[in-house]
Symmetry: C2
Subunit: 325 residues, 2 copies
């Protein structure tokens, strides 16, 4: 186990580029590859060891036993996995993709000999590409590192260490639990923002002239690159459908109540109470919990930390130190 | 016509309190009344001429021929209108309520001898009460001043001057057009925020731990005081129902498309295109247009300015100077 394992990032948009910058700033040896010639040129111009030759970057990762970070949009993942299977088939592999079950399944299919631990930093922006990348993007962000029944906890610790090195806090979750949660707190917000933007735009120049804070906030992420939003929402179809149904049900109930009784108390008070519960959970200082990775039931203990909304903030040898609300 | 007419504000929450502070800062003689003893005590403590005796404040307004600004939540409007009818029946009356047709109808019913011109500054906050009020709240905000077939344009100019004095830009609109527009750009955002907050909260501690920018932005206004949100949304029932149906239709179409083809391109690209159109409209420098209030068809000309998304920025005598995109 090498605590300062080298880092090879494939895909250098906002997230991948920020991983490359932040891992470099943390003292790791880093290199990367992107099919975007403009992003590659910008990254080289900024002094980074970046190529458009994905195969070469992966061969170097295999030789150095580096951790390979897949940072391409979901639709591009299978193609890059084929490259991994060909050029670095036994590497330690992680990703920063917005869904975890589909990537896990693709890895099993395409490059079964890699040691894979899925990851997802919760640090979006409405800007994209290498020029938007910054070393501080992950500071205090939640970074999910997936735990499954077969997870090698030595490899898991390596991936978690990378997340901690770039300033994030590690949330251990099962892939399915991750996908359901991000449907609620990321993919649904993007769809509601798109719908709100369209309904506002239908109001024409008058509506546009009156827009203030509530509309600007509610539509901010509708300005995100549509390709990236499609990739993450369509890629999470199975988990997103029931969450969409919850939202449709709640909005339909509001409509029905407004039409029949004229009242919206249930909808508005439920939303207000929800924000207070959420704020309380997030403000809780929490207690410190330790999980020894070599102990029996360590995977279950890690998942217990995640299930309670906890975050790992450090490692002391093979002991994960977590804060749990 | 008195360009520096005194200002009497009834209701001293965020909006009413800010009108009092801003009109005072603009050099007007101001006084106010609120039934809230704590807001009244705070306002007096801050050096303002404020009472809990609404009748006394209105009698003074009648004597001084002041403009009376109704700044109470919609459910309290009829009771205050009865006070107006009793103590200042012939006053120049405006309001800052979030809907215009229901207030216009209530004024016609309760205090038909007042000269009424409806108003609505687009400057909400998720905080409320006198302590949240500030003189700068309306700086560059859109302030709708309603134009109807019977509107007295001298009175209209007085109300518009007050809005300009406190830093706002005046948008002339019919009451029905106002109510439809705010359903799109204010009331729907509040309902979507409430629904999103509830769906996120249902995800429990895990979802709360993962929340980032898109969720925080999409739910910000769900923290607003529920009573105020109910007042504005329930009070705009007739205009809000068809807008809610538009949103339900768009979200249902997204659901159907995701379930059947797996695609969300139509929803996401429409939302993205909408944000670009809205941003273009709002960024347009615009051309200057003048409306002479004493000319024939002046009301129609003012409504034409509003319909094109224009704003009045100044008066030169009885000529309104507008900027139209």
């Amino acid at each position: 186990m090498n605590a300062v394992r080298d880092v090879c990032v494939i895909g250098l948009g906002l997230i991948g580029g920020s991983v490359l910058r932040a891992a470099d700033a943390a003292g790791r040896t880093v290199w990367g590859a992107t099919k975007s010639t403009s992003d590659a040129a910008s990254a080289v111009g900024d002094g980074y060891d970046v190529t458009t030759d994905v195969a070469a970057a992966l061969r170097r990762a295999a030789a150095a036993d580096a951790v390979v970070v897949l940072a391409v949009p979901l639709p591009a993942v299978p193609a890059v996995l084929h490259d991994v299977a060909e050029h670095a088939p036994h590497c330690l592999l992680t990703d920063v993709t917005s869904v975890k079950v589909p990537v896990r399944d693709a890895v099993r299919d395409v490059t079964p000999d890699a040691t894979y631990v899925g990851g997802h930093p919760m640090a979006g922006r409405s800007v994209s590409g290498w020029p938007a990348a910054e070393a501080g993007l992950f500071e205090d962000a939640a970074w999910v590192v997936a735990v499954e029944p077969g997870t090698d906890l030595g490899a898991w610790r390596e991936v978690a260490m990378l997340a901690l090195d770039v300033g994030a806090r590690v949330v251990p979750l099962g892939p399915g639990e991750h996908d359901e949660s991000v449907a609620r707190i990321s993919h649904l917000p993007h769809l509601l923002a798109a719908v709100l933007a369209s309904v506002g735009d239908t109001g024409g120049p008058v509506a546009s002239a009156l827009m203030a804070g509530s509309f600007a906030d509610g539509t901010r992420v509708a300005g995100s690159p549509p390709g990236l939003v499609r990739a993450m929402t369509e890629g999470n179809r199975a988990a997103l459908l029931p969450v969409l149904d919850e939202a449709l049900g709640a909005l339909g109930a509001a409509r029905g109540s407004l039409a029949s009784t004229g009242g919206l108390a249930a909808t508005i008070e439920a939303g207000h109470d929800a924000t207070r519960r959420i704020a309380r959970r997030r403000a809780t200082e929490g207690t410190t919990v330790s999980v020894t990775l070599s102990a029996p039931q360590a995977r279950e203990a890690l998942l217990g930390v995640g299930a309670r909304g906890g975050r790992i903030t450090a490692f002391d040898g093979d002991v994960a130190v977590a804060v749990v609300p």
